[in-house]
Symmetry: C2
Subunit: 411 residues, 2 copies
């Protein structure tokens, strides 16, 4: 008799975004005339940069001719893409990497989930609360937790609350943990970590022999100087951290699918008998066996993000979104709503008015303002009473959404 | 201290194809003037069909304009693609499916590896020998086996020998197994299963409550009438089988990346306490949480495979490759080499001349004929003494390779 992986049954609710999708669909089915403005899922809305489109077409054209056809590519991605990422995105930060340390993938969500394959189940995992749900759910699914309690905390996982009280910067865990997920700029709070804060994490990890998963998917949105874009800007990070990056938000690739994972050659973890094993080799084996590389034209498109024409175009779109973030922040503050983030990230983390529960505010915002956001509690128990708005709409939509919110809640 | 998944250390050698790549590179580095003909890795060589290229470009152009931009798509793939696959590829076989039963992915290799996520570790797994290495290695990596013995059989996995003695059709296992991998047309042997043979498997699986993973990646190459293209042509298969399909070989998508997995709604597996759970729901949850959908332009390109212009173009390329298969078969037979497959599959499975070991024949073929093939033993112990040639080259290269082999081994 075939048996299922029963860990899946521990998962409390559907994954957050499909649930939002269902509620929005129910509303729009019932109110087909309503103009719903979506600032919920962190999905981009602006077209790809012209230079990226051109390279994407060129890549497709290569597949139209025998002499330039590309079949299976390296499972780790093409060297020319890894090299340009290192050159344009890491070298300027003072970070030296080798192409063998960069693994191109079809997205950061997949990588941050699949990376668990190469690690033992008995590692103790710490995640922030609130957090990108994938970190939590994938650990539950793979069997690293018990059941969830009433609050939504799964037995066996260590949650690090990020609240107003600690300015959304989690404290080092008191118990020993083996794997720590950090995401900066943070999803969902939009907050960043200073160099000093990250140094404390790197020192902790190196001292404990723990591993940091550093999700830098939003690094391109950092506007303030001095904020680290990569964990490898911190001394000692190469012996304790894996970094995930994505073209999704940086260059509007949410529907195109390209990301990358950096695993330095010197990064080790242990067998139970204490033997050191390079995680780069294990991930390489995982990807060689379970993955078949990223679409060739997509990799061509990704490389063009860093081209002379592409980079300023990509920056312009980022500035466009960050102007939205500014509008949202200013508008909400003017309405007397307390909010965070939005300066170095495309997310604004607001305290719900009148201490409403997050999903109540979601329903109210949807039903009365026709605006979709993301309930903070969907990111973890400490997100209760908070709400995430994303800055990926058009200026007009963002302004209209803010006006509707101000009319409803403004003093 | 972070601990690794030690199951990875059980893996004997590097994944087969990277090992081939290393040996070929060593040869070409030492012999830069040699004209090496590659009939090893099953990688296509012909350009994409013009209709596919056009749709691919159209998809890219959609991303260049705000009004037609596509961000995150459904993790399960776009409905319009699932629907056209059902309509054009399953309905003609008499197989009815719903779009919710078709999951679009970035390739069959990923799916056939990742599907293990949703099943308990204590399932007993049966695989053919020889076999596509991914089935074996992913079960080892996830922890479903002990160590390998001297022959290369991993403790705990059930191997079903496919040899000349049984005409490469494995017998039903004597011990009870929970998961059975079948691949027809077969990689590596190029052999197919008749309707009667598949019916025996389906009946066995339904009687035992076991699950069949049916890999139909090569179904488009079936040339003889009456051979099933889908496991669902067999009555009862929807309650015991998951089918994997791919655009890789069908339409030359090895570098483009698109495949699909079919999980019928009525397909169930059990919890330990005997409760039935729909595998479709579990896979849906897996994909929603750990995957982010296939690149939108790629899905547009895949849909065009089934268009009025696209389908005949795609068929023409398949005929081209099958003409290669015919040439290889005829040429090898003329040289007195015993071979199988090549009629309903792009693979020819040959017995090495003079009873050579597979890797010895590989080295001899590379060094003396400058032809690359795949050693049968790389697909499992029962592949020792066999060798796989694939039909994906140009006619000229295939003819030249066969001539070189005939000069070397012809009587």
């Amino acid at each position: 008799m075939t048996l299922i992986n029963e860990n899946y049954l521990k998962l409390k609710a559907g994954y957050l975004f499909p649930e939002i999708g269902r509620r929005v669909k129910a509303f729009t089915d019932a109110n087909p005339e309503a103009k719903v403005i979506r600032l919920g899922i962190g999905d981009v809305t602006r077209p790809l940069a012209p230079a990226v489109i051109k390279a994407f077409h060129d890549g497709v054209d290569d597949l139209a001719r025998g002499e330039s056809f590309h079949g299976y590519g390296p499972e780790q991605g093409y060297d020319w893409l890894s090299k340009i990422i290192i050159e344009k995105s890491y070298k300027p930060l003072g970070v030296e990497l080798m192409p063998s340390e960069v693994f191109i993938s079809d997205g950061s969500k997949c990588d941050s989930a699949n990376i668990l394959d190469i690690l033992a189940l008995d590692n103790k995992v710490a995640i922030c609360d609130p957090v990108y749900p994938v970190y939590n759910d994938t650990n539950v699914m793979i069997g690293r937790s018990g059941e969830a309690d009433d609050k939504g905390y799964y037995e066996g996982l260590v949650y690090m609350p990020c609240t107003e009280a600690n300015n959304f910067a989690p404290a080092l865990p008191k118990e020993e943990v083996d794997i720590i997920y950090l995401c900066y700029p943070n999803n969902p709070t939009g907050m960043v970590a200073t160099r000093t804060e990250l140094k404390a994490w790197v020192d902790y990890a190196n001292a404990q022999g723990s591993l940091i998963f550093f999700d830098a998917a939003y690094e391109a949105f950092i506007s303030e100087p001095g904020i680290p874009h990569s964990i490898y800007e911190i001394e000692g990070a190469k012996t304790c951290a894996i970094e995930f990056r994505s073209f999704s938000k940086t260059a509007g690739f949410t529907g195109v699918r390209c990301g990358l994972t950096v695993i330095p050659e010197q990064l080790m973890a242990l067998t139970k008998s204490g033997e050191k094993v390079a995680l780069n080799k294990l991930w390489n084996r995982r990807q060689s066996t379970k993955f078949n590389g990223v679409s060739y034209p997509v990799q061509r498109a990704a490389a063009a993000v860093y081209s002379e024409e592409g980079w300023p175009q990509v920056q312009e779109t980022i500035s466009f979104y960050m102007e939205n973030a500014r509008l949202i922040l200013a508008g909400l503050k003017a309405a007397g709503i307390t909010c965070y983030g939005g300066v170095n990230a495309p997310y604004i983390w607001l305290k719900t008015p009148e201490g409403m529960k997050s999903w109540d505010f979601f329903d109210k915002l949807l039903n009365e303002c026709h605006v979709v956001g993301t309930p903070g509690s969907g990111f973890g128990p400490s997100g209760e009473g908070y709400f995430r708005l994303s800055a990926f709409g058009s200026h007009e939509n963002v302004q209209e959404a803010i006006q509707r919110i101000q009319q409803k809640w403004g003093k």
